[in-house]
Amino acid sequence: MNSLFLSVLHLINLLLLPLLLMGIIRKAKAVMQNRIGAPLLQPFYDMAKFLHKTETISENAGWIFIWTPRVGLAVAVIAAILVPWTGVLLPPGWAPATNFLLMLYLLTLGKFFTMLAALDTGSAFGGLGASREATISMLAEPALIIALGALALGAGSTDLMAIYSSPASPFIALLAGAGMVITALAELSRMPVDDPTTHLELTMVHEAMILEYSGRSLAMIEYATALRTCIFFGLAVQTLLQAWPVFHALPLLLHYAASLLGLVVLGISVAVAEGILVKLKWRSVPNFLTFAVVLSLLAAVIAAVQS
């Protein structure tokens, strides 16, 4: 019963939540801008639309361009199955597979191919996006790994399941969680690092990289992006919730509900932030990401003192 229930829950998480979260963020953003906005389920309609459109592939593109959406989506799906981003844990035997270094590097594999695909078509936008993406991830990844490492010290294991099933010190959880929110904004190309909605590709990072994609490839990329959003936001939410001592004692359903609520709240706050913040000048992005590094380092200091 329990395992069946878990698999059903997982399937719902994977299929519905990512796109729904994207819809919630868009809706909240529209509300912030005094618009009615697209329906909440618009991302689903978009997916259906993409799948029925003819795909256009650049004449210049080679196999890397064609295979990148498949690799990117596969990596995101595997990571989304294994990472406990909704607080729902897999059976204990799966714990080693949820190693956070494995998960992060697996997601990086998708990013590696996305950057290569951006260069494959010979478009200037692609190169620009890839170069900026490489810079951003160079700044964000150390912060993320230090934050998760500090959190993992308390659990004594680098497996995400172990990390999120053992209580952590509230200070570490808050600092690491705050750092992870900032890195998530950078990794997911959201404001104030990158604006996913402008009309000018010159100012964008992620959108500039995937400019040449259309049809089903774009559908795969968009879905992978939604999954990645859930994974990174979910990790940040789980970390922040660690600071709440009762969180681990909650029964499964309440635990799940709290996690989902946290995810939605984070999504809405990101939308609010996107409504009131302006995009940072590209040269100031490193300074912004330094905050994440500093927060993670503080978490690491506390973890080093306490262990």
Binding site: L51, H52, E55, I57, S58, E59, N60, G62, W63, I64, R70, L73, A74, V75, V77, I78, P96, A97, L102, Y105, T108, L109, F112, M115, L116, L119, D120, T121, G122, S123, A124, G126, G127, L128, A130, S131, R132, A134, T135, S137, M138, L139, E141, I145, I146, G149, A150, A152, L153, G156, T158, D159, W282, P286, V293, L297, A300, A303, A304, S307
Partner: protein
């Protein structure tokens, strides 16, 4: 195992083969095979400039001497093999001696190996003085007296390995050699220094120097960062790869440092994890670095270009080379499920265990910091290889030569596919590799500790990945049947045809990161706009980037200058070109030796 009863000084001509030697012999074989398969096809392109017989003789000599280095049982025999290795590789670097930069590279390389061997000789003499033996296995030096000889030996080995700050020769000498030789030098030869470090400092208690662990860790961390940072600035594909060797040597040294810290603080798991990470990464680096150098050689042979700003679009013209190079790049960037990830994961685990069980707050925090440091290095490596692959193989060709390129010959393709397959196999079969490593680390303690430390199911992840990608591909294929994709030009904003000049350049790609770390090498961009209406309709815009390596300009150049000056004052008189003077020296030396022999 004593093969011959000949005597070299008071040390026999003896070899000793244990699991550690076997591991390095395997590395020599595994990286040497593709290089030797590659060589005939590649050398065809150089046959008018290079004496093929010299290259083959030196190449075989290099292979034999490397094997000799990792099997030598005593210091004298070791130095003999070490010198043969240095000289044969010197001959290979000079092979293309009609090019001016080759000659310069060869002289710098010769100077570096001389300095390295000098350190090593003094260190060995000192160790002999302390122990009275030339045989490695009889050395057991500890206490404060061990520090100086250990540091001297380490300096000599670090010069050979290309560890910061002794790395300057490496990015100059390795690219100058023919590609299969670069593959051997970067992939294997510099690892012989790692072998000696493990033999003398890590595996057995030949030298017990507590300070060495932190030194290795710090120098490794700096090397890794330095190598990848300068790699990002390079436009010459082979030089870029050579700088990555500095990076990977740094990663290996960090593993050894972790191992030594584990021994110092009595953490047996840490000791094994660090050593296993270092050994595994040594093997992995040998494979993917030789693969990448062979790829660079194939590009060089087919286009006669090494400046990556003139390449591009080779994915359509050289598909096999591209596939192998992308695999090698993913492996060196430590992306799962390839072999580079397996060894870096072990190192991450080493740092994590150090952060958990380290005896002091500083050590624990430092270990967490090193995890972030390794992540930074990994992300920089990804930026660098996206740049290299993207500019060399993807996009539009940037020159006529790149446009006319055709796939390399069959032998060269096989030589690249072989290590690419090994990159995948060693990643997926990492537990089996650990089983072999256990035979070496069992000298440090119970090897089952190591097996249990490897928890991640990389094989399963690889399988899942393959199945998901395959499933998605089948789904797309099914969709394509009713709705085929159409091919059209890349979107150009309606401005007309995109030329090769509208693409991002390698310099442009690396610029944001170069600017962030600009303080390390005083990175400057000089933009010049010319024309009457400069603001809106410039006639000509030029941009020039420059960087200055402080270590070279502020330390090494003044040092060499002062050595030259001193030589001008003192040595010039001793070596003035007068044959009479030299005859006196010979007589004096003979007399001196006679006196030493008698007394």
């Amino acid at each position: 195992m004593s093969l011959f009863p000949w005597f070299l000084g008071d040390a026999g001509f003896t070899f000793a083969v244990d699991p550690l030697s076997c591991w390095f012999l395997a590395i020599i074989g595994v990286a040497g095979l593709p290089a030797l398969i590659f060589a005939p096809g590649y050398l065809q392109h150089l046959r008018h400039r290079v004496s093929l017989s010299l290259v083959w003789v030196a190449l075989i000599l290099l292979m034999i001497s490397m094997a000799g280095v990792v099997m030598a049982a005593n210091a004298i025999l070791f130095l003999v093999a070490w010198e043969v290795m240095a000289l044969s590789s010197f001959a290979l670097v000079t092979a293309d001696h009609e090019r001016r930069d080759s000659r310069r590279a060869a002289i710098i390389y010769l100077g570096a190996t001389r300095a390295g061997t000098a350190f090593l000789m003094i260190g060995f003499l000192w160790a002999h003085h302390l122990t009275g033996s030339w045989v490695f296995s009889e050395w057991g030096i500890s206490g404060t007296g061990a520090l100086a000889p250990a540091l001297l030996i380490f300096a000599g080995l670090a010069t050979k390995a290309g560890c910061w700050p002794f790395h300057l020769w490496l990015p100059i000498a390795h690219p100058a050699a023919p590609a299969p030789v670069s593959a051997l030098m970067s992939g294997v030869m510099i690892k012989t220094a790692i072998y000696v470090m493990i033999r003398l400092f890590v595996l057995d208690n030949h030298f017990v120097v507590p300070l060495l662990g932190p030194i290795l860790l710090v120098l490794g961390a700096i090397s890794a960062f330095w190598g990848v940072l300068f790699a990002l600035l390079q436009h010459d594909l082979k030089r870029l790869l050579a700088y990555h060797s500095v990076e990977n040597i740094g990663i290996i040294l960090m593993g050894l440092g972790v191992s030594l810290l584990g021994r110092q603080h009595h953490l047996p798991l840490l000791e094994q994890l660090g050593l296993a990470a270092a050994l595994f990464h040594t093997l992995n680096h040998a494979i993917f670095k030789s693969l990448l150098f062979l790829g660079a050689g194939a590009v060089d042979a087919c286009t006669h270009l090494r400046d990556i700003e003139k390449l591009g679009g080779l994915v359509h013209r050289m598909p096999w080379t591209t596939g192998a190079f992308v695999t090698g790049s993913a492996a060196i960037c430590a992306l799962p499920p390839l072999n580079g990830f397996a060894s870096e994961w072990l190192l991450y685990q080493g740092f994590f265990k150090l952060a958990m069980d380290g005896p002091s707050v500083g050590l624990r925090f430092g270990a967490l910091l090193l995890m972030g440091w390794l992540a930074l290095i990994g992300a920089l490596a990804i930026a660098c290889f996206v740049k290299a692959v993207g500019v060399v193989f993807l996009g539009n060709p940037r020159s006529r030569r790149a446009e006319r390129a055709t796939e390399a010959g069959r032998g060269m393709v096989v030589a690249q596919v072989l290590p690419a397959v090994m990159c995948i196999a060693l990643g997926v079969a990492a537990p089996a590799v650990l089983g072999q490593l256990g035979r070496i680390t069992s000298r440090l303690g119970d090897p089952s500790l190591l097996y249990h430390a490897w928890t991640i199911p990389l094989t399963l992840i690889a399988l899942l990945l393959a199945c998901t990608v395959g499933g998605l591909a089948m789904w797309v294929a099914a969709l394509s049947r009713s709705l085929p994709a159409r091919r059209f030009i890349t979107w150009e904003c309606g401005f007309g045809d995109l030329g090769p000049r509208t693409q991002y350049t390698a310099t442009g790609f690396a610029q944001p990161i170069s600017r962030i770390f600009g303080a390390v090498y005083s990175y400057t961009v000089d933009i010049n706009v010319k024309g009457r209406n400069r603001r809106y309709f410039p006639d000509k815009v030029t941009a020039e980037t420059a960087h200055e390596a402080y270590l070279e300009t502020k330390v090494y150049t003044p040092l060499l200058q002062s050595i030259k000056r001193m030589a001008g004052i003192f040595l010039m008189r001793l070596q003035a070109g007068s044959i009479h003077q030299y005859l006196i020296y010979m007589a004096l030396m003979l007399g001196l030796l006679f006196w030493v022999g008698v007394s």
